[in-house]
């Protein structure tokens, strides 16, 4: 194992985060605060509670998840796309690093950054609402598993993308709608039966539901199913990355 190499990539990526601190940390925090003001305060004042939980508090897990997914995907995809774009990927490919080590460096850094921001948002939201976390261990577990799986997805997007436009396509057109429709701001059982059934096809529902359970012990789907779902994403991401590197797809011709 070339641990020094992995650490070098990890530190390089983290340094990039701190170099662009405003863009990396402040902007997601700001947009979350705006969501809070609009959904939590303005709209939430007309909704008392959802399943017995204050609406402002109810949306916190969804908001954290929204940011976590976006950040994981964006960080990881940009992290690997940028060396491809500027050409420095040559050094990565000529270094004594296995594909697993390269992924570990990039995905590790992307997931760390996403987790940091998610936790900052959690703390920020505690300033607005009274938060109670029933299962902190599970909450962290869901956060980490989700951050890693979606960083893997981001990595795949970064390898696949041939332009900055493609890079933004999936986060914008897929991830954001899935989070909004996956119960970030409501409970699936508030929907008419048909749409409730449709919502169950949305993979993000399982993530948000499991994550919310760790706060309030309330969930749209059983927590075991959520856990299986997130583990499934992780396995799928790992499998795809493994295939990419085995075939050298869009990386090594």
């Amino acid at each position: 194992m070339n641990w020094r190499g992995v650490l070098a990539i990890y530190k390089f990526e983290m340094a990039r985060t701190f170099r662009t601190i405003a863009q990396s940390v402040i902007s997601p925090v700001l947009s979350t605060v705006l969501y809070f003001v609009v959904f939590g305060t303005a709209i939430g004042s007309r909704i008392d509670t959802v399943q017995g939980v204050d609406y402002g508090a109810f949306i916190v897990p969804g908001l954290v998840m929204l940011t976590l997914l976006q950040q994981s995907v964006t960080n990881a995809s940009f992290g690997i796309y940028f060396p491809k774009f500027v050409g420095t990927v040559y050094e990565l490919l000529s270094a004594p690093l296995s594909f697993f080590e390269i992924v570990l460096g990039y995905v590790g850094a992307a997931a760390t950054k996403a987790l940091m921001i998610a936790l900052i948002i959690l703390v920020t939201s505690a300033l607005f609402v009274d938060l109670h976390i029933a299962h902190p261990f599970w909450m962290l577990g869901f956060l980490i598993l989700t951050a890693v799986s979606f960083s893997l997805l981001g990595f795949i997007i970064g390898v696949w993308a041939r332009s900055f436009e493609q890079l933004q396509l999936i986060p914008l057109l897929v991830i954001t709608p899935l989070v909004f429709l996956g119960g970030a701001f409501y409970s699936a059982d508030m929907l008419p039966p048909f749409w409730e059934a449709v919502t169950h096809l949305n993979p993000v529902l399982y993530l948000i539901s499991g994550f919310r359970w760790s706060f309030f012990e309330l969930s749209d789907v059983p927590v075991g199913v959520s856990l299986m779902a997130v583990t499934g994403f992780l396995a799928l991401g790992l499998a795809v990355v493994w295939i990419i590197f085995k075939t050298g797809w869009r990386i090594r011709s």
Binding site: R4, F12, E91, L93, A95, S253
Partner: protein, 315 residues
């Protein structure tokens, strides 16, 4: 081509590379690169120089054949081979927002080596980059950026250094500096492979010269031997009247006819004491062949290069 008296550092056998597009970049390349030598690969654009280098460094996966570096297979034992190799690419690819110092440290760590600031300082000083160590790469001039690329390639103390078109678009000072650096690296025992289309660079630097065209190695030869072969001069004799049959008295000169038989070509070694020109002219006069005019010309690497890369492979 394989010289058993020298240790081989890199051994390439039956290397071929075809892309999905159907383009064949390399076909059946066999090449042995000796430990500690400077090998210049000469060839026109698109000849396969970069593909060859990329195959050795692990940037592309060859379609056929095998490559060993220091006895290790580049595919199976990639950790060992890549640790030995430093690559300076043709294009300037560096992390724009990082400082020179961080870039070099990053490269070293990427290759799994413990930090060694004293060594990196030595490298940066040798490349006149030490004063610029805290400057961001994006603020450097083109020539300086190229130096950073070299610093990156040397950061992990490679035993083999690939320089892909190192002096393309580089000013005279940097070119001289680079040549000096390459020589001092060779003194330290580093094997150096450079690709170029500057003949003078190959003449100046290389121990051996390989000529590559359309994915094939046409020739690999010691530079001195090649230069000796090339050091021949030609005497071109324009005759008063066309001569089709030469008398026996001129047979020893191995004269060649020009296409229209109005001229004769005599090849001689310019370095030797006796060129035989005086005797030839006397013998020609004795045979009754009168010379209207004469000219001499010298073949150089460029001529051979052009002949080889334009025409058929010589026998």
């Amino acid at each position: 081509m394989i010289d058993m008296t020298n240790d081989s550092m890199i051994s390439i056998q039956g290397l071929g590379k075809s892309y999905d597009s159907g383009h064949t970049a390399l076909k059946d390349v066999n090449l042995d690169i000796r430990a500690g030598e400077i090998l210049a690969l000469l060839g026109p654009n698109g000849a396969g120089k970069t593909t060859l280098i990329s195959s050795i460094c692990g940037l592309i996966t060859p379609s056929t054949g095998s490559i060993t570096v220091g006895g290790y297979d580049v595919h199976r034992d990639y950790r060992q081979t890549r640790r030995m190799i430093g690559l300076v690419p043709q294009e300037i690819h560096i992390e724009m927002f990082e400082t020179v110092w961080n870039t070099a440290r990053y490269s070293r760590a990427l290759f799994g080596l413990a930090p060694d600031d004293a060594y990196l300082e030595k490298v940066l000083r040798a490349l006149s980059l030490w004063d610029k160590r805290d400057t961001k790469n994006m603020e450097l001039s083109g020539g300086m950026k190229r130096r950073v690329l070299i610093a990156k390639a040397l950061a992990h103390e490679p035993r083999v250094l690939f320089l892909d078109e190192p002096t393309a678009g580089v000013d005279v000072t940097l070119r001289r500096d680079m040549w000096d650096m390459v020589r001092s690296l060779q003194e330290d025992g580093v094997t150096i492979i450079l690709t170029t289309h500057y003949i003078e660079e190959a003449e100046e630097m290389a121990d051996r010269i390989g000529i590559i065209r359309a994915g094939e190695i046409l020739l690999v030869e010691d530079k001195d031997q090649l230069m000796q072969r090339l050091g021949k001069k030609q005497l071109r004799l324009h005759l008063q009247d066309a001569v089709r049959e030469l008398p026996d008295s001129l047979a020893a000169y191995n004269l060649r006819h020009t296409e229209d038989f109005t001229g004769l070509i005599y090849e001689y070694d310019a370095q030797s004491k006796r060129t035989g020109i005086t005797r030839l002219i006397a013998d020609m006069a004795a045979a009754g062949i009168s010379v209207r005019d004469l000219e001499t010309s010298e073949t150089n690497l460029e001529d051979v290069f052009l002949t080889l890369t334009n025409d058929e492979v010589p026998s």
